[in-house]
């Protein structure tokens, strides 16, 4: 196991070491201590390594992650796992704004709550939030799955494309063109798998599914009031 103390090691050195790992590295376990809210920790990784950050992080932790598993044993600042391609990111605490923004793949698990714009413009990522999410979450989300065990704030799924949203609690309001949809067996299967992988104690049947009404996919003047 490699341990890097961010109070003595510069960020550039930390990220260089992590980014230098290859597919076949035998240095698979990394621990980062004293993050103290630093920005851009463990960004741009591209190897099947496991990185544990002991403490809370600033902006863009695990940004653009590929293959790696990054675990934060505190809370995460804005933009955690933004544009993630693959791999897994787990936040033991809460996450700030735009968690998983534009994520293209992989799994983001937030054990606490996520703030506004969670999953904004997501493009294939799977996000599981054990707590609640804030307003404008999944705005213009294109694909992937957002699972929320708690409640969702205002304007959930505004201008949604093909992403699927599953919420167990209450939704304060739905955004334009976002509607509740039928929960079919294939959705139960998707949820079951995601809940299991996220270590979430919930039954798929307890969730409601939300998705796009697809009325705004091609502009028409009769829809102008919806924007």
């Amino acid at each position: 196991m490699q341990t890097i103390d961010l109070s003595t090691t510069p960020l550039r050195e930390l990220n260089s070491s992590l980014q230098a790992q290859s597919e076949n590295t035998n240095q698979t376990e990394w621990v980062i201590t004293n993050p103290k809210g630093a920005h851009a920790i463990a960004v741009g990784l591209d190897a099947p390594i496991e990185v544990t950050v002991k403490g809370s992080t600033g902006y863009y932790c695990a940004g653009m992650n590929q293959q790696a598993t990054v675990k934060v044993t505190g809370s995460a600042g804005p933009g955690v796992a933004e544009n993630m391609m693959s791999g897994t990111v787990i936040i033991d605490g809460d996450a700030s704004q735009y968690a998983g923004a534009t994520g293209q793949g992989g799994l983001l698990v937030i054990k606490g709550n996520a703030s506004s714009r969670c999953g904004i413009s997501m493009k294939g990522i799977n996000i599981v939030v054990h707590g609640n999410i804030g307003h404008m979450s999944a705005f213009m989300a294109q694909s992937g799955n957002l699972v929320v065990l708690g409640d969702a704030g205002d304007a959930l799924g505004d201008s949604l494309y093909e992403a699927r949203l599953f919420v167990r609690g209450n939704v304060k309001s739905l955004g334009s063109d976002c509607i509740e949809k039928e929960m079919r067996p294939e959705h139960i299967e998707i949820l079951k798998d995601l809940l299991e992988r996220a270590g979430a104690d919930a039954k798929p049947e307890e969730f409601k599914r939300y998705g796009s009404a697809r009325k705004l996919y091609n502009f028409h003047v009769d829809h102008a009031g919806a924007y």
């Binding site: 920005h39 741009g44 923004a101 534009t102 293209q104 294109q142 091609n218 009769d222």
Partner: protein, 441 residues
């Protein structure tokens, strides 16, 4: 019987035939006019400026005999690997999706032959483009279509697009007609639906966040690539200053004549400032921060000739970028397709419905049959020629002003034909020493 004199029919200036036609079109369709290109209205432009060639008070250089350097280095502030260009003219960002694959290939080939860079656009990086562009700038856009760290690392520079001259504050719009299977796949969206590109970045709000976003991108790319920030020409002094504060290596300033693939005509014609009006405030911001020539300034928006290039450089830019002019050089709006433009209800030189995917020149389309019309090798040769001509023209003017490098051109080499341009460019009205409008922005 003597005929009674009649008044001649007279069109209203306010309700001209063009305005009336637009009112009828809007009433019929219920949607605003969407089109490509930049502002078509007459605004103060580089044409309003003239160079003061050397006589006694200045000493000219011999054309074709004395050296006049055109090289430029972009990204000298932080990047480990700045971009070295042979000419101060680059190709502006234009997306695959808006443009056909052969058009992107032609841009790459032509720019590489001329010793300059091309830029991706909304929609991601294609292998054709990377393969044919020796130097490729990768745009980091609010939509993040096709964004991935592999392409960030394959790029030679990264341009964070915050604004665009044709539509500062506006997002993009690629209508369903052009969403083929390949374009849809690159953008993670279904085939045939309108694709809205966001007007703001989803994961940062304001310059302080942008500074941290740049740190993240630098960390992902090992601090090698120059980071450009592209702003629309709206508040150039403050936006340039904030781009510098956020850590830009290069500021790309796009005036209102700058083109776009498709947006509302009302936006293109009514939002933003003319390119000419944007340059001096941006340069002033750099000078006030002690960063002029340290953070390079690339100006775009209606650059069409070597004279335009020379004037932009004289006002303080380090390089320019061309978009629409490059497309015309490739063959866009070529009169050889006149019959087909006629069938579309337009003329060669006025066609701008690029979003419909019916471009007879095969450049702004994804229609496989139309795309075949563009030979990327031949089109690249034309672009190379055009870039060479612009460079020669710029050198000719610079030599006449006594400059051994085009960057040595300065505002003192210029005068203005109009009060408006004199005030905007900060140069004297011709025949006077009067610079109107001085005293702040």
């Amino acid at each position: 019987m003597e005929k009674t004199p009649q008044t001649l029919p007279r069109n209203s200036w306010t309700y001209s035939p063009e305005i009336n036609a637009e009112i009828r079109r809007a009433a019929d369709t219920g949607i605003y006019d969407i089109r490509g290109g930049g502002a078509k209205r007459r605004v103060p432009h580089f044409d309003d400026l003239l160079f003061l060639g050397a006589s006694i008070s200045r000493y000219p250089l011999e054309g074709y005999r004395e050296k006049c350097d055109t090289s430029v280095t972009l990204g000298t502030r932080f990047a480990k690997k700045p971009i070295e260009l042979k000419i101060p003219i680059t190709i502006a960002g234009m997306s695959f999706g808006a443009l056909s694959g052969p058009a992107k290939e032609a841009l790459g080939r032509g720019a590489t032959m001329a010793g300059t860079s091309t830029t991706t656009g909304d929609g991601g990086m294609t292998n054709e483009e990377r393969g044919h562009s020796e130097k490729l700038v990768y745009q980091y856009l609010p939509s993040r279509y096709g964004m991935n760290p592999d392409d960030l690392r394959r790029a030679d520079a990264i341009e964070i697009v915050v604004g665009q001259g044709a539509k500062p504050g506006g997002g993009g719009m690629l209508l369903g007609q052009k969403i083929t299977e390949r374009v849809a796949k690159m953008r993670n969206l279904p085939i045939g639906i309108d694709q809205r590109s966001a007007c703001r970045h989803p994961d940062w709000t304001g310059p302080d966040d942008l500074e941290i976003k740049i740190l993240e991108i630098r960390e992902i790319t090992n601090w090698e690539k120059p980071i450009y920030i592209k702003i629309g020409g709206a508040r150039p002094y403050y936006d340039t200053a904030l781009a510098v504060k956020a850590g830009a290596d290069v500021v790309v300033l796009d005036g209102m004549q700058g083109g776009t693939a498709a947006t509302q005509d009302v936006f293109i014609e009514n939002v933003g400032q003319p390119t000419l009006a944007c340059i001096r405030p941006a340069v002033k911001a750099l000078q006030d921060l002690g960063m002029h020539r340290k953070v390079q300034l690339v100006v775009s928006g209606g650059i069409r000739s070597g004279a335009d290039v020379a004037k932009a450089l004289a006002l303080g830019a380090d390089a320019v970028a061309i978009g629409t002019a490059a497309l015309i050089a490739l063959g866009e709006n070529d009169p050889k397709w006149a019959a087909e433009y006629d069938a579309l209800g337009v003329t060669a030189d006025s066609y701008d419905d690029w979003h419909e995917g019916k471009d007879p020149a095969g450049i702004t389309t994804q229609n496989p049959e139309l795309m075949k019309r563009l030979d990327p090798v031949e089109a690249a040769r034309k672009l190379r020629n055009f870039l060479a001509v612009m460079t020669l023209e710029c050198q000719t003017i610079a030599r006449a002003c006594g400059k051994s490098h085009v960057h040595n051109l300065e505002p003192e080499d210029l005068c203005s034909l109009t009060l408006e341009a004199a005030a905007m460019a900060g140069v004297p009205l011709a025949g006077t020493s009067w610079i109107p409008g001085q005293g702040g922005f």
